[in-house]
């Protein structure tokens, strides 16, 4: 039996970064907002205090911060000819769970996508001619210029530390000269760099490149954000990604938004409450609310005027498929939209081994790095290269957590005395120059419901069909040698190159940047949401997160995810409330 609850104005499915952003803006506009979060309440003093947050086994290897696959997982296969099998434990990516979502355990690398990334199809087709037919990329429908104020606001909420590269059209020394025009400086100066970044910077300059400090959500100084919340200076403890910050030094929903939200009488949060489906009106034009189950197993129907999907992209896609909203994507015909254009990130790198010098990787932070952007997006001429897109090249010093980070040179065996001694000899003497490559959509990479495996509620798991594409392979083959050249200029004893070869492997950790599935665009035939991230099918259903990306750019997604959330919530408040209905006529 399902209990019916009183109606609210807005129900948010999931309470991470985007849920917190929506809730803050909507409650400030006077709406009654309820957030439903599958996982538990989590906060700094109780759940990631400095006295126990730095526990590598517990939080990374035993997945203390993440969704448990026993709750729900995805099935995976490289292509449609294979049988997808469940990811029995996580590997390549790590979906979050609980209040704050993945915004608790992220590194804090907070980029803006390039202006050309938002018009990837039209821009590249215009410059290079028709794109391959099976490359199903498209424009976002929203432009960088429209998102700029929202990027700026999120950077101020987080207190992002960096150096502007393009201030209202004027190129700035020391910043990223390729970035879109910014309306304002970063709110905080960049982090203080260590030895590895200094060497990277010198080597990159020697090659005529323009290194800049990675925009960081780890604080370079104490900061008070526009909501009056305070962040503390980062202590470079080396436990960011996969860990909560006990020091209030990493921007997260908990440190930058939630304490203010919890003061508001028109905001309610229910934790341990998992949404099972979005319900539709009889005529199929509106969402009526959501059905959720709490930890006792009891089911509830929560009616709402507006429903917003703020869960992780994989779960948002699954919820739409389970709720039968929109047409599921069919890779055979290329028709349908839900689950279309699943994309990821194409990572590669070159590791430098030093003889004399110590890199001391334990003095690190999640977004402590220097980067170059000459090979990202369309910052270079792709004529004759056979691919589009690119990636930034960066040297980060995030950690020396020893279970995770104990590189040995090529040729050393994987165990035994020789391995052990090589681990010891190189442990504090390595750094990596990484390529963070874009992932262009391909007709055969998609998400749908698995025909065999189900979750603990008996619902089908999401099935991921994914492999690296020809575009990915050419991209990584072109840019990885540049990273290698920078690495060779850094003065080490030897450089080992880790190319991205072979099929996508779901187990080695790569990055938690899963995108697509609920993509946005200008045409209901090719997208799930319109340019306001509003469902083409149900006008009172909005979607947040990187699932909106029609294809993934060569950057970390969080900055763009947040800008899209602020853009949509502004449209809801300024346009939708006055005249509910589709904000774009199809």
């Amino acid at each position: 039996m399902t209990n019916h609850l009183p109606k609210v104005d807005v129900v948010l499915v999931g309470f991470g970064w985007t849920g917190a952003i929506y809730a803050e803006k909507l409650t400030a506009a006077g709406m009654e907002v309820l957030a439903l979060e599958r996982g538990p309440w989590r906060d700094t003093p109780k759940d990631f205090a400095t006295t126990f947050a730095q526990d590598e086994l517990r939080y990374y290897w035993r997945h203390g911060m993440f969704q448990e696959t026993s709750q729900s997982t995805v099935t995976f296969r490289n292509n449609g000819a294979q049988t997808a099998l469940p990811m029995r434990h996580w590997g390549s990516f790590l979906p979050g769970n609980g209040v704050g979502g993945s915004g608790v355990h992220w590194n804090g690398q907070t980029y803006r996508f390039l202006p050309s990334d938002f018009v990837a199809k039209s821009h590249n087709a215009e410059r290079y001619g028709p794109l391959p037919e099976d490359m199903t990329i498209q424009d976002y429908g929203v432009t960088y210029e429209e998102l700029e104020p929202h990027f700026d606001y999120f950077e101020k909420i987080c207190g992002i530390c960096g150096t502007a590269g393009n201030l209202r059209g004027d190129i700035q020394k020391g910043g990223n000269p390729f970035e879109g025009p910014r309306s304002d400086e970063y709110p905080n100066p960049p982090m203080e760099m260590t030895f590895s970044q200094d060497r990277f910077e010198a080597a990159a300059r020697e090659m005529g490149l323009n290194p800049f400090p990675v925009p960081s959500a780890n604080m370079s100084r104490a900061y008070v954000n526009p909501l009056g919340l305070q962040l503390a200076p980062c202590t470079y403890c080396g436990f960011c990604e996969k860990y909560g910050c006990g020091n209030y030094a990493k921007s997260s929903p908990q440190t930058t938004i939630i304490p203010v939200l919890m003061q508001r009488p028109n905001f309610t949060l229910r934790t341990d409450s998992e949404v099972l489906s979005v319900e539709k009106s009889a005529d199929g034009t509106r969402a009526t609310g959501v059905t959720y189950v709490d930890t006792s197993g009891e089911r509830f129907f929560q009616p709402a005027e507006v429903v917003v999907l703020c869960a992780y992209p994989l779960e948002n896609t699954r919820l739409m498929l389970l709720s039968e909203i929109g047409t599921p994507y069919d890779p055979q015909t290329g028709e349908g939209v839900v689950g279309k254009n699943y994309c990821y990130q194409v990572m590669s790198g070159a590791t430098v081994f030093f003889d004399e010098e110590y890199t001391n990787g334990f003095v690190g932070a999640g977004a402590l790095g220097m980067a170059v952007d000459e090979y990202n997006g369309d910052n270079f001429d792709h004529s004759g290269l056979g691919f589009i897109g690119g990636g930034y090249i960066a040297c980060y010093t995030t950690n020396a957590r020893p279970i995770e980070s104990h590189p040995v040179p090529d040729g050393v065996p994987g165990w035994g005395s020789e391995w052990k001694q090589s681990v010891r000899a190189n442990f504090l003497k390595t750094t990596t120059v990484g390529v963070h490559g874009a992932s262009m959509a391909h007709r055969s990479n998609y998400l749908d419901l698995d025909p065999t495996y189900t979750d603990r509620h008996g619902r089908p798991l999401l099935r991921m069909t994914y492999d690296f594409t020809l575009n990915d392979r050419r991209l990584t083959a072109h840019i990885t040698p540049v990273a290698e050249e920078i690495a060779r200029g850094m003065g080490g004893r030897e450089v080992n190159v880790a190319e991205r070869k072979g099929s996508y492997d779901s187990m080695p950790y790569q990055t938690t940047h899963n995108t697509g599935g609920t993509i946005m665009g200008n045409d209901p035939q090719t997208s799930v949401c319109n340019r306001y991230c509003q469902s083409w099918d149900l006008h009172n259903l909005f979607v947040a997160g990187a699932g909106l990306f029609p294809q993934n750019a060569g950057y970390n997604p969080t900055g763009t995810v947040a800008a899209l959330a602020y853009w949509t919530v502004a449209a809801i408040i300024d346009q939708y409330m006055a005249d509910p209905g589709s904000l774009v006529q199809a």
């Binding site: 126990f52 403890c237 508001r264 003095v363 504090l428």
Partner: protein, 246 residues
Amino acid sequence: MSFPTRRKILKSLLLGGSAMAAPSAVFGALYGRGEGMPWEPMKGQPPYYGTQEDNFFTAEERATTAVICARLIPSDEDGPGATEADVISFLDRQMAGFYGRGQHWYMEGPFAEGTATQGYQSEHPPAQLYRYALAELDNYCRDRHDAAFAGLSEAQQDEILKGMDEEEITFEGVSAKAFFDLILKNTIEGYFADPIYGGNRDMVAWQYVRFPGTRYDYRDFVKHNGARIDLPPVSLMGRPGWNSLE
């Protein structure tokens, strides 16, 4: 559309003012509604120490496993190995706990072998995989060498482990490669994890590679400029010097 305030109705239905109460069996936990950040005493998440008392291995399994660990991370003139780090105690506790039971993993069938890119697909949770594979390993050794694995020479042991790693040796009913990959991963975990879990005893592995441990603040060292930093390691339990009288 109007958005009238429904807070009063909502509040009257949702247990009045006791919003900060512990998770209700009916509603899950409720927060917000103007009552600020929740705080409850005695609800913290202190370190999980693993199971201190329970153990999983039989005496024979424990002996064999300890020998495998000692071959994966040997003790030598360069420094301590899995034996000094007491990796076997770490493994015994891990296998007796939620990890060994595969309690947080998706372990629903059907099970299939899978491709190399699909990860762990054994129908056995880690502890059971150890149990079956250890028995098979000894069967394999007795068939060929007339002795259990622990009774072989180090060179023979290395040869067999290499065969499992490179998939030249297979077992009956359980994957030798899946077991090898898992025990190597778990041995590295036990060697380098915080000592609260029973391995990395006295922080021997951290001292060996010169990892300073779970220190909180390196701001004084950011400008190290490639110089060596000498800091004794600190565990979540502190370090011995903190308790001495010197």
